[in-house]
């Protein structure tokens, strides 16, 4: 439906997540954009760099902070055909994290490869 409305144009959208999940609203509102863009049948990728890697760390518990734990939503992205998730290797290493700490399957890229990924996308939205 939405694809027709856009004249069949399919662009490569990259959402760059740079911030920890609960300190600011950016991660949550970024996820809201990602979910909407799925309805427009665009070519969507997500990148996690800097503190953004904490958004997809396993075992998030927000009870004490009275905030909504929205981390299960990342697992649901597959159901929206959003399967291209990239994580920066250096950002993981700097925080003592490995791929095994993450709650979704990702492709780990070096900082240089991450730059290439950004270059290869049409619309880059950074949150």
């Amino acid at each position: 439906m939405s694809e027709e409305m856009q004249g069949g144009i399919i662009k490569k959208f990259l959402y760059v997540n740079r911030r920890a999940p609960y300190g600011t609203i950016y991660a949550l509102e970024s996820l809201e954009v990602v979910l909407i863009s799925a309805a427009f049948e665009q070519d969507v990728s997500l990148a996690f760099i800097d503190d953004g890697v904490y958004e997809i760390v396993k075992g998030q518990d927000t009870k004490g902070s009275e905030m909504k734990n929205f981390s299960p939503t990342y697992r649901a992205l597959e159901g929206y055909d959003i399967e291209k998730l990239y994580v920066e290797k250096e950002s993981l290493a700097e925080r003592g994290l490995t791929e095994a700490d993450l709650l979704v399957p990702v492709k780990v890229l070096s900082r240089g490869e991450m730059a290439d990924l950004m270059e290869s996308n049409d619309v880059v939205l950074s949150f």
Binding site: Q6, I9, F13, Y26, V33, I36, S37, F40, V123, L125
Partner: protein, 130 residues
């Protein structure tokens, strides 16, 4: 060139609102087309008509409204971001049982699809924020 603009930060607290306005104005003056200006995160506060800045300072909302009127600009405030921050238009205020609304002239409230559409239709989507 057909451009779209995204404003992600609140007025007065952050440069983004000023930079986005000055960029949009300059682009229009140079003959570029602005497909849409979309306000997200705290950027939605650019569209409250209840802001009353000191008289010797710029009036960020009025500047947008005047630019919109002059150039038939499409200023869109994200509904989800707006509602959680207390920004309502007349219809939403009624629907939510609230006693007031605060959307400024020239702005309209709509969904995030409007941002995606701007990304698709514009040659460049220029984002202002951190």
């Amino acid at each position: 060139m057909k451009l779209a603009v995204l404003v992600n930060e609140g007025p007065y607290t952050h440069q983004a609102s000023d930079s986005a306005y000055l960029f949009t104005k300059a682009a229009l003056e140079k003959g570029h087309e602005i497909f849409r200006v979309f306000f997200y995160h705290d950027g939605v506060y650019n569209g409250t008509r209840l802001m009353v800045p000191p008289q010797d300072d710029r009036h960020i909302q009025k500047r947008w409204s005047e630019l919109a009127e002059k150039h038939k600009l499409d200023l869109v405030v994200c509904i989800a971001a707006a509602q959680r921050r207390g920004m309502l238009d007349e219809n939403e205020a009624k629907r939510q049982g609230k006693d007031a609304n605060n959307i400024a002239p020239g702005f309209r409230i709509s969904g995030l699809g409007q941002l995606i559409e701007a990304g698709i239709q514009a040659e460049r989507l220029v984002a202002f924020g951190d």
